[in-house]
Each structure stands twice: as C-alpha cells, then as structure tokens.
C-alpha cells in the first residue's frame, strides 16, 4: 500500500510521541534519583538542567561510588539502607512464582484434560477466590501465621504470594493447555505413554510460552504486592513496595532516596521480562488463531 511522505512522517511523529508519553514518567522518576533534594521541587520543573549526584544511591545501597566529595556512608546502618530489602523482594518474587507455577501447571493440566464430576464448578470456584479482597484475609492470616511461626519469615510470605497468584496462574495455564490439541495426548496414550510422561515430555514443552507469560505476571504481582507483606512482616524482611514508605518521615518525604530505590527496583523485573521475552510474545498470542 502506497503512503505519502507526509503520512509516513506523521505516523513516525505520532509513534515517537506515544513512546515519549510512556517513557517520560520513567525518565523523570529516574532523574529524581540523581538529584539533590533542592533540585527536585522547582517551578517551572527542571527536566535536564541539574547537577547529577549519586548520593541517593549511595545511601540506599550503603556503598560509596566514589564520585564528588567523600561522603560518610553507613553500610549496614541507616534507615534508608535498602540493599537487603531489594534482595528480599527478589527472593520472595522468584520463589513464590516458582511455587505458583509448579502447582498451577499440574492443576491446570488436570482441569484441561481430565473429566471429573464438578470440573466446571471447580474452575468457577478457583476464579471466585481471586475476587476476594486481600484485606479481608490479611488479619486472619496474621493470626494463623503467628500460630505456625510463619510471621516475619520468607516461607510465610512466599506461601502467601504463591497462594495469591495460584487462581490466576491456574486459569491462564488452563487456557494455554486447552489450546494444545487433545489429540496429541491421545496419540501418545495409544503409544503407551503415561499421563505423567505426556505432561512432562509433550504438553509442558509445547506450553512453554504460556508458562513464561504466566510466570511474568506472577512475578510482577508478587513484586508489587503491598498489603500481605506489610501485615505479615516486621523486621526480618520487607519487600520494596513496603519499605518505600520508610522514606515518608515525620518531616517530609525523601523523594530522591525513594526514586533511587524505585529506579533500582525496575532492573530485576526488567531482567526477568527480558529473559522470557521470546516465550512471552509467543505465549500471549497463543490461541489467537482458530484452526
């Protein structure tokens, strides 16, 4: 189809504008991380004309990056020292995602392939658990976890995040498994393969894209979850969304430090998405064409 130069140019400009629209908040937030407090709030806002500093990162990660005047950095101390908290986030998100995916793939395969009484009702029930507001279960969870000594532990938070993500993971994976023709399973069964072998050797590799897409969603939900971590942890661990509120002090908010942690927290999630990107695109488009 022929397009005029004008139309092409306009389309390119529009494309860049949309990209700019999405990129600008990330740029501005990241730039705040590199500013002194006196350069953050200005009218009119300063976009580029500020003297960059890495002090916010030095305080948040307790390291000296060696730029500018030597600063007293307090590794392991200080209320704004957040490096361990970033690690907490990675551990919780990674293991809760693994937990959810392992359980969900088994459950989703069973729901997709096996006929049993009340199968459809079961799917609806799984979906309904997702509709329950987390705040309704946070307090009872606190008491249960205290009883089982799971309060303020990695295990506790990983279990909660895993359970929280399970309904969504089961439903998503079931739809991915549904898109893989059941005839493949039947052929393998005729050839003498067991259900477990079919699941592990045939269906699972074919659903790799769907599993990757589901894992990314589980990881992001866990990465950004606030309420359960706030309620079920104290001092042993905390994830990034919860510790971000530490920067809100009685005499104002340390926006530069908060932005430094926020900018750093983008990186692990970005790496995870990057690693599974190839599968992700395939997973998200699975089933979009009817044969």
């Amino acid at each position: 189809m022929h397009q005029s130069t004008f139309a092409r140019t306009m389309r390119t400009i529009a494309g860049w504008l949309v990209v700019g629209l999405f990129f600008f908040p990330i740029y501005f937030w990241t730039s705040v991380a590199f500013r002194d407090a006196k350069d953050i709030f200005n009218w009119p806002p300063i976009l580029f004309d500020f003297k960059p500093t890495v002090r916010n990162f030095e305080q948040v990660f307790g390291i000296s990056l060696g730029f500018g005047r030597p600063e007293a950095v307090t590794p392991g101390g200080g209320n704004f020292y957040m490096a361990p908290r970033l690690l907490d986030s990675i551990i919780v998100a990674a293991f809760s995602t693994m937990l959810a995916i392992v359980v969900a793939t088994l459950a989703a395969y069973a729901l997709s392939r096996m006929n049993f009484r009340g199968r459809h009702q079961f799917v609806n029930w799984v979906l309904s658990t997702r509709m329950m507001p987390p705040v309704a279960v946070a307090i009872p969870m606190f008491f249960i976890f205290k009883q089982f000594n799971l309060l303020d532990t990695y295990t506790g938070v990983i279990i909660v995040h895993g359970i929280m993500n399970l309904p969504l993971a089961v439903l998503l994976l079931k739809s991915f498994f549904d898109d893989i023709p059941a005839e493949i399973d039947e052929s393998a069964l005729l050839d003498g393969a067991s259900r477990w072998t079919i699941f592990r050797r045939i269906v699972l590799p074919m659903a790799r894209g769907g599993i990757a897409a589901t894992a990314v969603l589980c990881f992001i939900f866990s990465w950004t979850e606030f309420l359960f971590v706030l309620t079920l942890t104290q001092t042993s661990l905390k994830t990034v969304p919860v510790v971000s509120s530490t920067f809100v002090t009685s005499i104002g908010t340390a926006w530069g430090n908060m932005a430094a942690l926020g900018a750093a927290a983008i990186v692990p999630a970005f790496i995870v998405i990057l690693l599974v990107q190839r599968h992700l695109v395939r997973g998200l488009t699975m089933g979009s064409l009817k044969q």
Binding site: K38, Q59, R69, A72, Q234, T235, V248, S250, I251, G252
Partner: protein, 498 residues
C-alpha cells in the same frame, strides 16, 4: 599556638578538605587538636536528607556516656540474647536511635533491638493488631499523642516501673521531662501512658530576608499573621505566597491546622459538657479567618500535608509557615534547600482570646502552638518487659536524648536538662541539624502550647471525621462554614454516642 597562627592553619586545613586532599576524619581530628569542635567551626558535618547522620561524627565526637553504658551492661546481664521489637514512625529521634545509637546499647547489653520504621498510619495498624491479638509481637510501643487514650490500658505506667529499684536507671529523673509535655502527651485518666519521646510543635517560621525587605516584623498576633501574609502575597505573589498551609482533605494535618486557628480565636473543640463547639461564634470566626488566610497561600495547598507545606517553604514558594518546628533544621541545611540561613523562628502569634482548660473537656488545652508528639512505652503483652524497660530508660535518658538531638538533626527534646546540654547548644548555628530554634520551641511548650483532647474516639475524629468535612468545606462542598461545622458537630456527636 597564637590565635592568628591557629586560624591560618585552620584555613589551610579547610582548603585541603575542600580539595579532597585530606579526609573528613583527619580534618576533624586535627581541628579537635586545635581546640575546635565541628560545631564551633560553624560547618557542621554534612548530612544526608532528613537527618541521616554522619557515622564519622557519631564515632568521633558524640558517644553515650560510659557511666550510662556501664549501668546498661550491669543491669542487662540476665537478659542477654533477648530481642526487642519496636514499631515507630520515621521521626528524627527514631532515626537517630536506629541508625546511630542503638548499637551502643546492643554492645553493652547483649540485647538486640529491632526497630521497624513505618509511616504513622501503618504504626497504628501494627499496634492495633498487636493489642487486639495480645500476642506481644512488639515489646515497645510508639504511641502518638492522639492514641494515648486508646492504648492507655495496654502499656505499663513508667512511674510504677520505676518502683523496681533493681531495674531503675540511676538519675533517670522522670521529673526532668517538661511538665507541660507529660500532661499534654503522656497523661490519660490518671495513668502515664509512657514517657514523652518526641515533641513536634507549631512555631512561627518565616523568611527573615523577605520580611526585612518588606519592612515586616514577626507576627505577634493572629491579625498580624494575616496582614503580613497578605502583604507578601501582594508584593511577591504568585511566585511567592505569604504563608504555606497543610490542608490536604481528609488528612490529620488539616485537623492540626484547624485546631491552631480555632484555639487562636478563642474557640475550643469541646465544651465542659463534652459537646463539640467548633460551630460556635469563635469557631466560625476562626473559619472566616482561615478562609481569608488561605488566599495568601500557594495554589495547590489543598493537596498538601506538612510534607508539601515544608517543601513550599524550603523551595521558596512560600515565605512563612505556622507549623512543626522539626522542619527548621531541614530548612537550614544548604545541601537540601535554597533557603539555608534565611529563615528565623518566633513563638506562635498570640490568640485573640484563649479558653482555659476548665472551659473545655477531655483534657483539651487551647493554645496556638499545636502540640504533636509521642510517647515510648513498654507493652503489657511483651514477653520481655524488663529488657524493654531497660532499653526504654536508656533511650529516653538525658544523655541519650542529648545525643538524639545533636545527631538526629535538631529535633526538640522532651527533657528540660537537654535544652541546656552543651552538646545541644554547640549546634546552635546555621547549618544542617541546627538547634538554634530550640529556645523558641522551649518557650512555645511552656507558654503557647495547645493540646488536643484525650478520648478513645479521638483517633477517628482527628484523622477522619473532622479533616474529611473540613476538606469538603474548602472544596466547596458546603454552602457555608456554619453548615460545615454544624455537620461536624452532628458527626462527632454520633461517634461519641457509639
């Protein structure tokens, strides 16, 4: 060494520090040999935002007294290995304790102290859960003054704890706490709900350079506050407003500002019959005044808590504020603001008339200097109350409070003796962590302090009922101030009836 030579040597030393040829540690050590402390040098040690403190300074200049630590070591022997937990708001004292001072206690006592720093509303959530479950997940409670009534039965009265001579710190001197603060923050129904731990209080902070330029003087009356603010707005606005407010709809900060206006016009929240009277003649006068004063505030003030208010002054968007004195050291920090050294403090403007405590209810004490603050108390559900009591005494002792004030960025002490401590006075110069505003804070506590009422429902009334309705008024949700205040009166009545 002659004075002249000493100054020359010091200048050369400072030059080397600025050029990075020597480290801060070497500089301080050499300067100390010259008989000059960092405070005397007028430079302070550069601090990170919001009272993040320099470890170099803590280690070299300000350390707990050996006598106090010896007592801690002796008395803590049976409790070595215990872990204590405290959930607290991110305040200067808590930050100084957590990041700089608790390590001394831990080393001496063998008791581990874990401090969870959270925003105020999250602290309330944690405390409520702990009390409701009686599980003792926290050993110490940080209790905001507005929660004292709610938690008064859940903590030990420190006066009773002091009766145990075996665990009592020598020279703890509970009478050293400012009496007005004990009454305003800690007392409820005859019980002492912990000891005063921090004291943010409303003082007048204003830009001296702007005031001088326009020939203004620090306001001594509410009328002068309004006229000064209006004059600045007319001369400098809209780039610079006369005064900044903390008027976010539905937020506790809005209620704080309202009480200051209300009390400053002879009103009160309750009358002796325990009825809400913010809608009486004085209450409506206050609303009219406040509505007019708002015209001298920056646009967007409806969305600001004290955070936005402080930023407005720090960034030169507003020339004054009647607000928390805790902000002042931040304003003086040249690495954080553009107004270092330009602000001055004064006691709050005098009220047009002032009701006495007898004319109110629930212990409400009218005064333009709205008092915030909190107490530190040992939880009744703690599994280690004795160890917690030892830590609490150490954390609120005169020696530790002096260190907190010096290291914690010039926060207001709650003990009389700390205001006169040489370590605190040494920081009374322009720069980060200044204490030059503390004489005004002290005078405001003594003569201008206003305290909110103490009743179990106050947390709900002050953080929800009143600020939501006030926010609705300022956004045009009511036809008049009278209608707004009458509605608040009805709602307060409903809450009190349960």
């Amino acid at each position: 060494m002659r004075d002249h030579d000493r100054k020359l040597y010091l200048a050369s030393l400072t030059d080397k520090l600025v050029k990075g040829q020597i480290g801060r540690r070497d500089f301080l050590r050499t300067a100390a040999k010259l008989g000059l402390g960092a405070g005397a040098l007028g430079m302070g040690v550069q601090r990170a935002p919001f009272n993040f403190v320099s470890s170099a300074r803590a280690q070299e200049a300000l350390q707990p007294s050996p006598e106090t630590l010896k007592w801690v070591a002796d008395v803590s022997k049976p409790f070595a290995g215990t872990t204590l937990k405290l959930a607290t708001e991110s305040t200067p004292p808590s930050n100084a304790l957590n990041s700089q001072l608790k390590k001394y206690f831990e080393e001496a006592s063998g008791i581990k102290v874990e401090i969870e720093v959270l925003p105020l509303e999250q602290v309330l959530q944690k405390l409520t859960l702990d009390v409701a479950s009686s599980l003792g997940t926290y050993d110490l409670y940080y209790i905001d003054q507005s929660w004292a009534a709610s938690f008064n039965q859940d903590v030990f009265d420190p006066r009773e704890q002091l009766q145990n001579a075996a665990l009592a710190m020598p020279n703890y001197n509970i009478d050293d706490f400012l009496p007005a603060l004990v009454d305003g923050i800690a007392m409820y129904d005859g019980r002492m709900v912990g000891v005063p731990y921090d004291i943010p209080i409303f003082i007048m902070i204003y830009r001296k350079d702007i005031y001088d330029e326009l020939g203004l003087k620090a306001p001594t009356t509410m009328a002068e506050l309004a006229s000064n603010s209006k004059a600045i707005m007319e001369a400098k606005g809209p780039a610079m407003a006369g005064i900044a407010g903390q008027m976010k709809s539905g937020h506790y900060s809005l209620e704080c500002e309202w009480t200051s206006m209300l009390w400053g016009h002879g009103g009160s929240i309750f009358n002796p019959d325990k009825k809400f009277v913010g809608n009486d003649e004085q209450g409506l006068e206050a609303m009219a005044y406040w509505t007019e004063l708002k015209k001298s505030m920056p646009a967007g003030v409806d969305g600001w808590t004290w955070d936005g208010q402080g930023q407005a002054v720090a960034q030169g968007v507003a020339a004054s504020m009647l607000s928390w004195g805790e902000f002042f050291p931040y304003f003086d920090d040249p690495t954080q603001t553009k107004i270092s050294g330009l602000c001055e403090v004064a006691v709050p403007p005098a009220a047009t008339s002032l009701r006495t405590k007898d004319q109110t209810a629930f212990g409400e004490t009218p005064g333009v200097g709205h008092q915030g603050g909190s107490t530190l108390a040992v939880s009744k559900y703690s599994k280690s109350p004795d160890a917690a009591w030892i830590f609490m005494q150490w954390a609120t002792s005169a020696d530790t409070q002096a260190l907190i004030t010096a290291l914690g960025g010039g926060t207001g002490p709650t003990r009389t003796s700390v205001y006169d401590d040489p370590r605190v006075k040494a920081n009374a110069r322009v720069g980060a962590g200044t204490t030059r505003h503390l004489p005004i804070v002290r005078e405001t506590i003594a003569n201008h302090m206003g305290s909110e009422p103490d009743l179990p429902e106050w947390a709900q009334l002050s953080s929800d009922t009143i600020p939501v309705a006030l926010g609705k008024y300022f956004s045009g949700g009511y036809a008049s101030a009278k209608e707004a205040m009458d509605d608040i009166a009805t709602q307060v009545d409903d809450v009190l009836k349960g």
